[in-house]
């Protein structure tokens, strides 16, 4: 693959003495949607949080190995700069409860100095909400508090918040695990449109094989803290090389 967005070599993560990632090697291609899939407990979420160095917030964590994002080793960079490369959406929607819908999206832009004026900020907020497929539903109540929205809408709000950062890459940690099928489909549509129109690289962690196949161009299969195999979705879905992958895709895990 030409210049992967992410290149990982020998990544090991230990939390309070327990090995979570046991030597991860993988590549995430640019401008694609990559699904990071595997059964629960295989280390997918931990891996994701290593990328934006959020894992360092955990007590007793030890990280070793090499992680290069767009060619630079993230452990050599200033941690805040690393985080600003990525927009993250979490498993349970977590819009800031004390901010309005507008302010929730805006804070992503403000923190990253994306807008220079109020007008630019308005434009970015609108753009982010449109890309998250939420604009039509909230355009008349931008100053409402977020708890008036449904779970699925809150999750799209979180996506908009992340997009307002103008990140080069989106990290999504099982974003549809807690929302209904209709909202799930909307979120997946939003991701596909983003990949197509904005060239944003997307890494989505999922434990649902169908979602991985539906949504992604590239698949990375995790099991027990290691990468089992990786490759274009078309190939992996039809003829996986590893037995573990095959069993996972069949829903036997």
């Amino acid at each position: 693959m030409i210049s992967p967005a992410i290149e990982v070599k020998g990544l090991r993560v230990r939390i309070s003495g327990k090995d979570i990632l046991k030597g991860v090697d993988l590549r995430v291609p640019e401008a694609t949607i990559t699904a990071i899939m595997g059964p629960s407990g295989s280390g997918k979420t931990t891996f994701l949080k290593v990328l934006n160095r959020l894992i360092e917030l955990v007590d007793g964590v030890e990280v070793s190995g090499e992680v290069k994002v767009y060619g630079s080793n993230i452990f050599d960079m200033d941690v805040y700069k690393v985080r600003r490369l990525f927009g993250m959406v979490f498993q349970t929607p977590n819009p800031f409860p004390h901010l309005s819908i507008y302010d929730n999206v805006a804070i992503g832009a403000k923190v990253n100095n994306v807008a220079r004026s109020r007008k630019e900020l308005d434009e970015i907020v609108r753009w982010a909400l449109e890309k998250a497929m939420l604009w039509d539903e909230v355009k008349n109540r931008l100053h409402d508090p977020p708890w008036r929205l449904s779970g699925g809408q809150q999750q799209r709000l979180c996506l908009a918040r992340a997009l307002a950062m103008k990140p080069r890459m989106l990290l999504l940690d099982e974003p549809t695990a807690n929302i209904d099928p209709v909202n799930t489909a909307q979120l997946e549509d939003a991701l596909r449109a983003l990949r197509r129109d904005e060239n944003i690289t997307v890494a989505i962690v999922t434990h649902m094989p169908h979602q991985a196949i539906r949504v992604s161009d590239y698949i990375v299969m995790f099991y027990d803290g290691r990468v089992v195999e990786e490759g274009p979705t078309g190939e992996i879905a039809i003829s996986p090389r590893e037995d573990i992958t095959r069993r996972f895709l069949r829903g036997e895990m």
């Binding site: 160095r53 360092e56 070793s64 452990f75 200033d78 941690v79 805040y80």
Partner: protein, 322 residues
Amino acid sequence: MAPRRPLHDIIVFYSLALPASLIILILLLLLLSQLGVAIPVFGVQGLSTYTTTVWRPMYEPPQPTTIWLPMLEPPQRGAWYGLLPAIWGTLVSAITAIILGLTFTIALVVFMEEIAPRRVREVFSTIVDLMAGLPTVLYGVWGLAFLGPLLHRYIMDPVHSYLGIIPLFSCEPLSGATVFTAGVLLSIMITPFMVALVQESYRSIPFTLKEAAWSLGMTRFEYVRLNLSMILPSIASAILLGFGRASSETAAVTLVVGNAVNIGFCIFAPAYTISSLIANQFTESQDFPYMLNALFAGGLILLVIGLVVNSIGIILLRRVRF
């Protein structure tokens, strides 16, 4: 390899550590200043400061005595500042307070947790909170004008007349301002605090244990007794912490305790507590040498009593485990 901490984080750490350290410094200064100002009187009166019962302000300073040997009789000449009466008053009023206070506390907790319907419980809870924060001087003023005279007429006089043979009640109460009144007033004041402690502990009893008790066919009385026995360390802790509170109180106590140098078995007499002594004698202390130091010596022992009692109380609180 461990990534370096950003400069920003380091600045944040030290900026936050500063106020934290300042607060610790305040406590250290408190301990040091009490000790520091008390030391001169120890240099002259020694440990007898705590064991003598004479309080004799005079311009002539106290006669130096052996500081390591606590005496009971001070020298005849010169001033003397013995704190024993004040210590006694503090102890008697605080003990009275916790005996009565514990009764109120247990009754309130059992009532709120087992008997009262939800609405009534919330009302009682609010009332207890109201009692907890009421400015202490208001308790004092009420105690002086109402409770004292009430206790004098309806409890102390009759008890003295009929049960005067018992040393505890052997002196004739001259007014409402006695160490007994102080104890009763303090019991009302420390009850909300003790209730909060015991109630929280009572509520933490796991439901399965309660279910087991009910399934055995226990009556409410037996069931409550069982629960209370399970949280005995908390009750002990409430007693200790309540004692600490009662001994620290100043404004309310000064108004009702009578402020007379007294010591003896009878609780219907006026007395001093350490805090009321300090409050009362403070203005005098500017004129008499060593009196201020003696008052600080009183403050010192109050501090020590408070810290010791509270530490034990908190250790006990942690012993409640299921």
